[in-house]
Symmetry: C2
Subunit: 889 residues, 2 copies
């Protein structure tokens, strides 16, 4: 018989922390904490397998589940000496979801389950506190009502508001036991009215309904969105944890809190957290009351830290902190409750952190011997380095402060104010920089947060939804800026007498919590010492080289600063758009004859030679891979009639000729058209000019600097061996000419992009005439999937929602299809030419999961945009250390 | 030491007919004829390997060649008792090319080589005929001058014209020995003037120059064009044949002729040919004098057949005919010369023939026991069947006869008159039907002949260039219509007082030689008894099924008549363009909501159901494979503003909304866009409607006829297993609904196109949810090559000229790349599901070479357009019999 239920606490711990796939993160760690002696209220976990089984069988449970739950519940009853549903000493439980990875805000929780009209009296009696008991009962009905029964939670709030008006009080805390009892009556009426049935009084019915709601919530739209953004497969499922309740809201010797064993924002080795006295856990996370700090060191005037309020509990918590870090060897994010001065641990997990914190903690823990260097390298998520590489505000730049909030997620951002998530997304899609401004955020806002450059909220703390999610996403965030009033209807924010309208620009500094009017100048990030240390460690582990995709001197310099070991892709067509040159380019294209093209190319040659001279000067003696002209020629032509007329005039031709030529050059499917080496074959003079510019530029640099660059000339869009043979011969002919003219030669090589399925299949033949392969996985993805990157936006999101594709294949390589092509081509190429140099220069070259794939097929290097170079260095190191690319933690 | 030279004739035959790859067709057959005792003048063949070696070594010969040629030449001298260069008894030789396959008109020939100012006297003496000797000498200078030395042949003609004026005669035959001697002097002056050197007098210098010219001509533009049109690889090379001259122009007891052992036009078992008395071979082929028939049976009033003129030679020729057919077991195309009543054989080869002739001969030879049925099936080129399946003129249609010429190549054609090949090609590319009209054609016209629907010449016989080439190409041709005067400058043809201008329409009947004014109605071809016999034999050998691509009742009926065993591809989108429907289709597309789409689909359902009902009625109980909607939706939308306005009004929406929707739907690369199953996934209601129409239509037919059709529902553009899973589930849901409503069910299956590289790579997974695969090799070719069919025209011809691609990969499957994908997918699919049904439905399904490939990977069926069904049946039989697809003979 399958085991669906695992007990923890009170001496029976059937789980361990390494069983998170089965028990979820929360359940596994509750068992682990209990087993190392920490105070965990007893309970049990229903496994993620059961969730999968549940969905597989049309949302039905296996028969044996009821018995296993009953047995585990009985054990809890015995451990705590209370009985589920007993009217004098009732056992209350919490029911929480717990997936394999933490999904904050995504899943639903029900506390105080087991209360009904009878057991509420028993709770009151055993706690000796009527008000606590009725408050707990109304919390339970409210949570259960909204989460399990689907009653709008605002309807419950309205009843409380009404009760406060009737009692003539302002705060919830001023309501009495009798007031709460009235609220409970109102709640029960509301539920009966909304659902057509009375609120369930049977605790077991409550329990099964809550368990069902947790499993059901695994596939709600919020959860699906979160999983999509975080690349979590839908088939992982969630576990359900049922645990004896402990109460942080039983009086002023009770509290509840969340904290991190180190500062999750900076990584500083200091206890960092918040608590609320006389409260239940959700009060802290919801950000409704402003929490207090834990340690005296962090307290500001007027705050009452836990260290002062409950010194014993605080001391015990400090010991727990030490124990957990020693045990887990990582920073922990913990939840605790103090019930009548006694500490209970309700959760521990590896804490989410900023990139800076992750880096600092990894380096400090390695230096302290808690972990080794390889582990330090493994621990930092390469994608998160992006945060460190983004600009910060220029300290010398003038600025007008609007308001100040909490520094919830580091980094600076400038953008136009928008007040809702949908607008943030739609404007961002148009390429606008936007700042999402909300009173507070909720899971419904995630897509807008993702689309925005930064997030500003006027309510909530450092662990509010906005703060946690923004840090996870690497978005700058200022949270709880209470001085700002937001008017959604009027589409304005007001602060200190100033009003900012939607569409106007503001600047956020997520490191200080400051909000500025207008746009404040930003500066390049300075790499911290920890960053350099970790990169050095990473370089010591990695096998693959890391190059950059760059064609401008600025990009090349940035990339070298970030540690690029050469250029893996210099797109020569990008050099053609310069206003000084586009005239000659257009002249070349519009020319109907070879002579006309040659005349125009003659004008382009000096520019192109100078481009290469500058690039080579920066990069020499590192290799520079130069891709000859690739895109369809008509991309360079004007399209509107007015532009056509202008160009016609500047080229001394008439409008009709120009228009006809543009039409001749237009293509039904330009991606599959007359481009790449097909241009080089039909108009050999183009590649000849480019080859000449490369060799002349290289020889100039060799003469000027004494450091000869190593051009690697790359022919795009090869489908057959013969194409490469012909274009290679062109290049070699020009090389011989230039070397003869200059009286000296330089080293160079000629290779090809592998970016068409045919090239991959025929890679063995192609390798006979190639010095290297560079996988152009952008185009390869387009052709393998038959999917235009420009057009995929119309259905790709639906595909990811429907689970057809786990990820956008243009972001992370499709290992099964595109990856298989790369593997086949790599094998065939190397079979022909042992040690053939292999690289990748698609966008995937900067994606950690794709880099892990590249390691697995033995590529020699990856090439990516300059800002992704550190990401790639770290990811390549992790790949060499065997870390899979699919990290979602 | 390599052997470069092979002797034949006079008792030493080093070659055989099966050595054609080495010796060329001509050389191999000369040796073969000599070895079976036929009268062949002695000579030798320089091999095709030497040609390859020649090009490989920068057009230089290996050292040992001279010695081998000298030895072979010496043997010829001894055999005929003449000496090369001897002034009294000079040996003269012919030098001819001879490639592996016959290339009529493509290669160059030099006759009478060895003549000079000294040997001409010896020839005159030994022939006892001064006129013959000087005529031969001038012929030699003229041929050698134009072919080897590159002097324009018109310049030589001018000298003859001048000589005739001076001698006051009209015909060449009226010129005397002295006249010819003057012509020779004029020729020598011309050569000296044009080349700066005197005409070469050294026979060995002449010989080597002629050999070099033959090898050099292998890569002239005409040869390259011919090879491209006939799929002949450039690396095959040509051989050179050097042979002792015999003379058909030594007097009235001499003749030269070409003939076929059976009628190459009808296949009738009758000797068929032409000869000229007192002439050299090129006089017949050039079509300058009108030849006479061979047999009395075929003689018209006034003609003098060979049978009457030279009865002994004729009798001998009849014996040769019997011997050759018994020996070669095929119809032979032979060249002969009668020198002073003695017959010499100069060439034999398998004769080119029309499809009808090929068919008739194959069937008759099998029935006569000369070959077996398998050989009969092997012998007919499937591509040539096209000719039999094309329309002929309706005998009852009214017509206005313009002129009558020779019935040079069967079939009827209607088109606009054009007078040059380039224009024929350019207008045909625009989709116009054109008739190429020329006084006579030459190899420079081949591209225009290929592009034209039919060819008309006013000069030349049944074996003229125009006639031979047109038959080979399957183009209707009327040759030698002497009643028509062509004025190239005025761009008119005139006959019987009527003038037809360029661009006006005429009709040709290639079966009768008639030319009609305007357009004459045509009718479907009736299949001959031989056709049915051969098809039956073919069906007995083939393994693969043959289906058709059809969506209209007419196409389906035609295909069934041609023997289609089901529909392999019914493109449902073609059903949407009907004027009655396009409104609803556009309404569906322009609808922004599912409800809007459903309303429009509701209107389309009855049409689509009726479409299927009619198709099923024709096809039942054969299988019908229906592809659900595939193309990008915007293909159905109007694009010009006026059209948009019209559609907007008809749909009750405004212009701007319509225009915006059209823009929204437009795509950068529609081939890689929102189409195929991506439509079915994002707008499931579309596929649901189509599935409903299919099932409802099928059940109607089952009820009406008692014969249940077997719909095979095919989902296009699958890239992942999940797409097929989802769309298949949609179809199954609709099936269950319809079956429940109708109270009965029918058999059906659900499969997919394999048309994306990813689908091929993941075919193992996809097969888990597919009942069949159909390879969509059009799209697969596009994605494997990254090559848009719509755009490839700009560079594909250049690619084929440059030898990058041997053939257009959209016409004949690229076996190495696309084919490899098909092979991988077939293997993976069958590994998952043993016996998985596999078919092909791209255009390649009707291409014999591609069909041979399909056999090699074990597909179950091919599907092609209705007119290609017989082609496919025969090609599939040949594939099963092991005939490769690359037949060029």
């Amino acid at each position: 018989m399958a085991k669906w239920v695992y007990s923890f606490g009170a001496g029976l711990n059937e789980g361990r922390s390494d069983m998170r796939n089965l028990l979820g993160g929360k359940g596994a760690n509750l068992a682990e904490m209990a087993s190392i002696g920490l105070p965990v209220p007893p309970g049990f976990t229903i496994t993620t397998d059961l969730c999968t089984e549940f969905y597989k069988n049309g949302r039905r449970y296996p028969d044996e589940l009821t018995g296993q739950v009953n047995d585990a519940l009985k054990r809890v009853e015995e451990a705590v000496g209370l009985t589920f549903g007993d009217s004098t000493k009732p056992l209350l439980v919490s029911v929480r979801s717990g997936a394999r990875v933490s999904m904050p805000g995504m899943m639903d929780t029900v506390l105080n389950l087991g209360l009904n009209d009878a057991t509420v009296a028993g709770l009151a009696a055993s706690a000796n506190d009527d008000r606590f008991a009725w408050d707990s009962y109304r919390r339970f009905i409210q949570m259960f009502g909204s989460v399990v029964l689907g009653v709008d939670h605002h309807r419950f709030e309205e009843i409380i508001e009404q009760a406060k008006i009737e009692a003539a009080v302002v705060e919830d805390t001023d309501l009495t036991a009798a007031d709460w009892q009235n609220v409970v009556e109102g709640y029960k009426d509301l539920v009966a009215e909304e659902t057509g049935k009375p609120f369930p009084q049977d605790p077991r019915e409550q329990l099964w309904a809550a368990v069902g709601a947790v499993f059901g919530s695994w596939e709600n739209p919020r959860a699906n969105t979160y999983r999509r953004l975080h690349d979590i497969p839908a088939d992982w499922g969630t576990a359900v944890n049922v645990q004896a309740m402990v109460f942080g809201n039983m009086g002023h010797d009770c509290a509840t809190g969340v904290c991190f064993t180190r500062d999750p924002s900076t990584g500083e080795n200091i206890f960092y957290g918040e608590y609320l006295v006389n409260a239940q856990g959700e009060d802290v996370v919801a950000g409704i009351r402003t929490p207090q700090p834990l340690s005296n060191l962090r307290a500001k005037p007027g705050e009452v830290p836990l260290e002062t309020a409950m010194p014993n509990a605080y001391a015990e918590l400090m010991e727990v902190r030490e124990t957990l870090e020693r045990h887990y060897k990582d920073m922990q994010d913990i939840e605790f409750t103090v019930q009548r001065n006694k500490l209970y641990m309700l959760q521990t997990r590896n804490g989410k952190r900023t990139a800076a914190a992750s880096l600092r903690m990894a380096v400090e823990m390695a230096n302290a011997g808690l972990i080794d260097r390889a582990e330090a390298v493994r621990r930092v998520n390469p994608s998160s380095l992006d945060q460190l590489l983004h600009p910060t505000l220029d300290p010398k730049a003038p600025r007008v402060l609007l308001a100040k909030g909490l520094p919830a997620s580091p980094g600076a951002a400038v953008g136009a104010v928008v007040f809702n998530a949908d607008e943030a997304e739609s404007r961002a899609l148009k390429g606008e920089a936007v700042i999402l401004v909300r009173i507070e955020t909720s899971p419904e806002d995630i897509h807008g947060m993702h689309a925005a450059r930064g997030i500003l909220t006027t309510r909530g703390g450092m662990t509010s939804h906005a703060a946690v999610v923004a840090r996870g996403m690497g978005r700058p965030c200022v949270a709880g800026a209470g001085g700002i009033a937001v008017d959604y209807n009027g589409q304005t924010l007001t602060t200190g007498g100033k009003t900012v309208r939607a569409g106007e620009t503001i600047t956020l500094d997520g490191a200080t919590g400051e909000v500025f009017q207008g746009s404040v100048a930003m500066i390049e990030p300075a790499m911290s010492g920890d960053f350099g240390t970790l990169m050095t460690w990473a370089d010591s582990f990695r096998r693959m080289g890391v190059r950059t995709n760059a064609e401008t001197p600025l990009d090349a310099e940035t990339a070298v600063k970030f540690g690029a070991e050469g250029i893996g892709l210099c797109r020569t067509e990008h050099m053609f758009f310069d206003p000084e040159r586009i005239g000659a380019v257009r002249q070349m294209i519009v020319a109907g004859t070879e002579a006309g093209r040659r005349a125009a190319l003659e004008r382009l040659l000096p520019f192109q030679r100078e481009d290469f001279r500058r690039l080579f000067t920066i990069m020499a003696p590192l290799p520079v891979t130069i891709r000859l002209l690739d895109p369809p020629l008509h991309e360079f032509l004007p399209h509107a009639d007015a532009e056509i007329a202008e160009v016609a005039e500047s080229l001394g031709t008439d409008f009709d000729t120009m228009k006809r030529r543009v039409e001749e050059l237009s293509e039904a499917n330009p991606m599959l058209g007359h481009r790449g080496c097909r241009l080089g074959i039909t108009y050999p003079e183009i590649y000849e000019m480019q080859a000449r510019a490369i060799f002349e530029g290289a020889i100039l640099v060799a003469k000027e600097t004494g450091k000869a660059p190593v051009p690697e000339i790359m022919i795009p869009l090869i489908a057959t061996r013969k194409e490469l043979e012909i274009t290679r011969a062109q290049v070699e002919k020009v090389a011989a000419e230039v070397f003869a003219e200059a009286g000296r030669s330089i080293e160079y090589s000629v290779g090809t992009m592998i970016e068409l399925p045919r090239a991959a299949m025929l890679a063995g033949q192609i390798a006979e005439v190639a010095d290297f392969f560079s996988f152009g996985t952008n185009d390869l993805t387009q052709t393998v999937f038959g999917l235009s990157r420009d057009d995929a936006g119309k259905f790709l999101p639906a595909y990811i929602d429907a689970g057809i594709l786990a990820k956008d294949p243009f972001v992370s390589i499709d290992v099964e299809g595109v990856g298989e092509m790369v593997r086949i081509a790599a094998e065939k190429g190397r079979k022909t030419k042992n040690g053939l140099k292999l690289g990748i220069c698609g966008e995937h070259g900067g994606d950690p999961a794709s880099i892990a794939f590249c390691e697995s097929v033995g590529l020699d290097y990856v090439s990516c945009s300059p800002y992704r170079v550190p990401v790639a260095r770290l990811a390549a190191a992790q790949a060499a250390l065997g870390v899979g690319g699919d990290r979602t933690a």
